[in-house]
Symmetry: C2
Subunit: 178 residues, 2 copies
Amino acid sequence: MTVKASPDFAQEMPPGDDKARRVCQRCDFIDYQNPKIVAGAVVLKGTQILLCKRAIEPRKGYWTLPAGFMELGESVEDAARREAQEEALADIRIDRLLAVYSVPRIGQVQIMFRAHLDGDYGVGPESEEVKLVDWKDIPWSELAFPTVVWALTHFAETRDKEIFAPFANPPNTDALTR
Amino acid sequence: MTVKASPDFAQEMPPGDDKARRVCQRCDFIDYQNPKIVAGAVVLKGTQILLCKRAIEPRKGYWTLPAGFMELGESVEDAARREAQEEALADIRIDRLLAVYSVPRIGQVQIMFRAHLDGDYGVGPESEEVKLVDWKDIPWSELAFPTVVWALTHFAETRDKEIFAPFANPPNTDALTR
């Protein structure tokens, strides 16, 4: 017989550890929580950039880059390609690592690539709309997350560069991430 | 009253999901498992490289770079600095992102920096021994993990470069990582 109930977590310091962890008071299960990886890309077709309007929360209705949580069994590059496929039905070709952003407040590391789209694209199930935009038409005030702004801005600095050092969080942005 | 027992996980597809997850049969707790981030560094003092002999499994007694699991509340750079402090009592200055390696078989992404040591170092609790070595004295046959070999080899390619594109897994190494 299995009696089901919702988990009943409390902060406890497991033996041998040096930090409190979420421990289920029924099972003694220790829920180690680690930062999660978001993989995504600034995808170019010619000189235009691929943007997706979010069909889901958070920030439904705002524009973002194809990106999402990396899953087990993938490489970071696999994850960025899968997300472009899921959100924009786009088969992208990864060019270079653009940026590694840390958002400790929400336990995320965002790994963003510069990539190219040779073929077509469409509207995936997590998007309300997908489009290619010229730089001058980027809807800056309707972008979903600060990291989308950063990735686009950093991308612009690499436009004519084949080799570049990838970017980290811009200076003086701790108030947004910590 | 709390009756404790070990968790009792089974693979189940939660409602609305598209993958089987580990679900506790007692609590209905869903243990989403995501790739974990290892942050570390090739640390230089002058032309010498800082290596740590592992005091813990896996690969106890083998040499590695200061590196370890990123924790919640940190940036990737924070994590690399903390690990150098913990394993080699070294206060490092991060220079550039050296590499992002994916090891899907064990659900890891390893983010490695190039860094410098200005001050002293010592033997942290997870190390049996810590030393600075010349390139010619690297104990190649006694390195703990393939990614340590990769990071050192990739580092060598950047020795005289201020700006470089970071490295990913070397070609034809899927047999080691997938």
